[in-house]
């Protein structure tokens, strides 16, 4: 990369001081005068008709200010499928489906009031398994959805049957992944405030305040100019807060209107486990045809994903999985059938990577299995099939930059792949896996947009206010924007105040999701900064008597000074330029705006192919494990993770993201799982039995940044956060096989599963 002042530097997070001192405010920290607290009444049954709801006793309880039911919340919402209402009127579809809400002067009274609401249910048969739900005769969860199929996505590209005919071997394998929770540190919460002019201010820990705003304006029939969504610091998002999509959001708003008081709803941790959505469970069958030397000729994937009682992001997850399964290797014959199926379970949603981590787990574990069966090195097989810069994949993705090969080679070298493969140690093994994810995406049918905005104002003293449409959810986007704007404007990053999270003061955009912050949000920032720079130079040229045509040739900006190239002493400060420009007859401000729509396309309606993202990030993971054969415990000795980020705007930030994603990946691989009871209720809705890794459980992690210099992204950058989540479980599966000779193909790889697999293997001998 060329030498920059701020790009490529490990600049500490701009918001870190506030967070280190406890000053940083999160939505949950907010409180307003006269505020009420609300709780939701939830169904104890997984599937039942609602015969009657009697709220009279609750309404009379002292301290209760309002009680609402479904008739008060006649709104329909969803993500791609609008199948949800905030409070149910006809029937409930999962344990915990909301039927009423109470606002009271404190949480205790609200909870007591819930106990006074009487609901008469008529239980209906329920189904808790997606495969069972698809069978004829299964209970129908949503009218009109035959076999409970919420959505179906398919790709049929090239000719897989012919490819299988031509293959030397065709392998079919089955994989399953589990439901996992986001475990956002800040539980979901919101505060709704109406003013007397009919304007709604909604405080919400949102990843995408504008999407929240649009949804609420539409639902409540309020002009968009009268809905303001405010997001402060967000205590983790990971996809669970990508839109406004919870009963509690609507309930708070309706209760606030009814009482004319601010209403706050906060999830407790156990509610957060159940009602903040989770990563869907995926059942996958992968059929791959290969030549005897490991070239993949064709692949067929069938997946059944359990979306729970409502769709939320379920169908999108399946669609993404389907698209990405055709984007990693060079085969051109691909068939995908993906079913998103309703069950009577708390519903899943978007979680870091959407459906991609699950589908990658299946595909990449199978690649390792195939390599093993063919007697080929799994690294070599991947290198042989890997996509390269310039490829157009079977899914239609055009790879303008691709560092896949470099990523594979980097992790192999760091872990000592060849040497360890040549000198295996007892009970030890290594595994390798790679992956691809998008940078921003156009996968919602009919929505031909993927944009971000930035507004930039240069102040009289040369400092900058930069408003972005993206939200700082902890991934470091604000810092990256300060670096980008600083680089373009020639000022220090600490002179840039990044403003986010207030729809009234920030431009519109899709927020922080789909790994788009750096590249899509960043491009808007870069464009706005470039516009402002032009204005500064033009005004300076005017003041300094330089002809307009010579501006770029003669002037530059560094450290807040506009100076003549070659004569650094001849110049003026940005502050002086701004003041000169503003304080005169017909003066102007130095301010700029940008709206950037990432250059991607919607998928073709017939084939499903399309270049659905402006850039694709690649990565690889090599992991060494030791398996304890007596207990089945998998001890991860080392994780090496590489990622092609296009260009590293803030290497420290990228390494941080990779490490955090590896932590999530290790949990997905080894111990995280939502466990359900007989009624489809979550039984491990607490942090002792829903296990995320503690510091003592973490192996050493080495992260390697690969830069393929994307031609589209700002300074060459691509997305980071989700790609980093991919690869860990499949690399561990392969490593476990390398160490212990067993394949465990359903996650998580608990010590019990490994022990059982080893026991079966011994018994077979």
């Amino acid at each position: 990369m060329k030498e920059f002042d701020f790009i490529g530097k490990d600049i500490p997070r701009v918001d870190a001081v506030d967070k280190a001192t406890g000053n940083a405010k999160f939505t949950v920290d907010l409180s307003f005068p006269n505020m009420l607290h609300a709780k939701l009444l939830r169904s104890p049954l997984p599937h039942a008709k609602i015969l009657n709801i009697d709220t009279r006793r609750a309404e009379k309880l002292p301290g209760v200010k309002a009680v609402i039911t479904g008739k008060d919340t006649p709104y329909v919402f969803g993500v791609s499928h609008f199948d949800q209402t905030p409070l149910q009127t006809e029937k409930v579809r999962h344990v915990g489906d909301a039927v009423a809400a109470v606002a009271a002067i404190d949480v205790d009274i609200a909870e007591e009031a819930l106990r006074l609401i009487r609901v008469d249910y008529e239980p209906l048969p329920a189904v808790f398994d997606a495969v069972e739900a698809m069978k004829p005769g299964a209970p129908v969860i949503h009218e009109g959805k035959e076999r409970n199929i919420a959505a179906y996505a398919s790709y049929d590209l090239g000719d897989v049957e012919e490819a299988f005919q031509k293959s030397d071997h065709v392998f079919e394998d089955h994989f399953e992944t589990q439901r996992v929770a986001h475990v956002c540190p800040e539980p979901h919460n919101c505060i709704a405030v109406w003013d007397s002019s009919g304007k709604l201010t909604f405080y919400y820990c949102s990843q995408a305040p504008d999407l929240t705003r649009l949804q609420l304006a539409k639902a409540f029939g309020v002009p968009e100019s009268k809905v303001r969504v405010i997001t402060h610091n967000v205590g983790g998002g990971f996809g669970s807060r990508a839109t406004s999509k919870f009963s509690m959001d609507f309930a708070a708003i309706v209760l606030a209107k009814k009482t004319s008081r601010p209403v706050k709803i906060e999830y407790t941790r156990d509610e957060e486990f159940v009602y903040a959505t989770f990563r869907n469970k995926f059942i996958m069958d992968v059929k791959t045809g290969v030549t005897k030397d490991g070239m993949i000729l064709g692949r067929q994937v069938t997946t059944i994903s359990d979306t729970g009682a409502y769709c939320d992001y379920g169908p999108v997850n399946v669609n993404v999985g389907g698209a990405m399964a055709g984007t990693l290797y060079r085969f051109m014959n691909y068939k995908f059938d993906g079913y998103s199926v309703y069950t009577n379970l708390p519903y899943g949603g978007a979680m870091r990577g959407l459906g991609n981590p699950a589908v990658h787990y299946a595909m990449e574990t199978q690649v390792s299995m195939i390599a093993d069966r063919l007697g080929i090195d799994p690294l070599d097989m991947r290198l042989k099939n890997a996509v390269h810069t310039g490829d157009e994949t079977v899914s239609g993705a055009i790879l303008k930059s691709c560092g896949l090969t470099e990523c594979l080679e980097a992790v192999a070298e760091k872990i000592g792949w060849r040497e360890k493969k040549a000198n295996p140690k007892p009970n030890r093994g290594i595994g390798i896996a790679c992956g691809v994810h998008f940078t921003g995406v156009r996968l919602s049918p009919g929505i031909d947009a993927d944009f971000a905005g930035a507004n930039l104002i240069v102040n009289d003293d040369g400092s900058v206010n930069l408003a972005t449409s993206c939200t700082e959810i902890g991934s470091g986007s604000n810092t990256v924007y300060a670096q980008m704007a600083a680089e373009v404007l020639g000022i220090e990053p600490d002179k840039i105040n990044v403003v986010f999270g207030d729809t009234e003061n920030c431009p519109m955009g899709w927020g922080s999701r789909a790994s788009r912050n750096t590249a899509v949000g960043g491009m808007a920032v870069k464009l706005a900064a470039e516009d402002a720079r032009k204005q500064i130079l033009s005004a300076a040229a005017e003041k300094m008597g330089i002809p307009p045509d010579n501006v770029d040739m003669e002037l530059d900006i560094k450290k807040g000074m506009v100076y003549v190239k070659g004569t650094p002493s001849r110049g003026m400060t940005i502050a002086d330029v701004v003041k000169f420009n503003r304080y005169r007859k017909d003066g102007q401000a130095i301010m700029a705006k940008a709206h950037w729509d990432a250059p991607s396309e919607l998928a073709d309606k017939v084939t499903g192919r399309g270049n659905f993202s402006s850039a694709f990030s690649f990565g690889a993971k090599a992991i060494e494990v030791e398996v304890d054969p007596g207990t089945g415990k998998v001890n991860v000795l080392k994780v090496v993770a590489s990622q092609d980020v296009g260009a590293a705007i803030n290497p420290l930030g990228i390494n941080c993201q990779i490490e955090g994603a590896v932590h999530m990946g290790l949990g997905y691989a080894l111990m995280e799982e939502i466990v359900l009871g007989q009624k489809g209720e979550v039984v491990n809705d607490h942090l002792i039995d829903y296990k995320i890794l503690t510091p003592l459980d973490m192996p050493p992690i080495e992260s390697i940044i690969v830069e393929s210099m994307d031609p589209i992204g700002p300074f060459g950058a691509k997305g980071v956060g989700e790609m980093a989540t991919i690869g860990t479980p499949e690399a561990i599966s392969a490593a476990v096989h390398d160490a212990a000779g067993v394949w465990v193909t359903d996650l998580p790889l608990t010590s019990e599963k490994v022990w059982m697999a080893l026991k079966k293997k011994t018994e077979r001998r």
């Binding site: 296990k691 503690t694 019990e752």
Partner: protein, 290 residues
Amino acid sequence: MENFEYFEPKTLKEAVSLLVKYKRGARLLAGGTDLMIEMKGGYVKPKYMINLKKIKGLDKISFGKKEGLRIGALVTWSTLLSSKPINQYYPVLRETASLIGCPQIRNIGTIGGNICHASPSADSAPALMIYEAQCVVAGPGRERIIPIEEIFAGVQKISLKQGEILTGFHIPTPDTESKGCYLKFSPRKAMDLPIVGVGVLVTASNGTFQDVKIALGAVAPTPIRARRAESFLFGKPVNDQSIRKAAEEAMMESKPITDMRASREYRLGLVKELTYRAITLSISKNITQE
């Protein structure tokens, strides 16, 4: 959480009379690490909360070679970890303490609280059982001494009568030749409950097992001693074969269930494997000492 009346008795007598007065409506507060969770979850709704921590003497540790160890019920895990006599004479208890929870939990969680919660997987139970602790119980009547195994009446059930309070433990000084360990098998290295816990104390001489104590956690409604395995080893040669057979015996004495944490079959396998390892590990400590 429901509200309650709150008391801070200054003496044991006062605490006992409060318990007698308020009966089942009262709960005793030690560290609160289990009680607070139960209360917040609505499983327990005391009307009267009796905080034991203002009563002098319940958090003391004293040791004499002849008398043995006395640990007050309110001794926290952190205090236990910094105790010299426990480190020297009851290393398995110390090892247990280091495996519990995390610093925040160890700073307020108490050994008495852990036992009175009576979880089948109570971490402190195996160590107390292999050291053959006696529980000291105060109440409206005379002070009672209950052997540790008998204090457990069932899953989360303690065999204390109405008005009784566990005040501490009396643990005899172990044989100087004995060596032991506590193996806690859990998915995580902190903040976790054992899927299976095995505590072992072994004395061997002249290549023969003289005395073996094996205690198992999380494999029955209460923590148990594997007495058949223990008897089996008495007089047997210290070799792999004996240890494996003993581990097999211990497995057969255990009665684990299948729950969300593990299956019965896996737990049985773990009992066998961990008992074998615990004895082998302890014996190797023994040999190095000689």
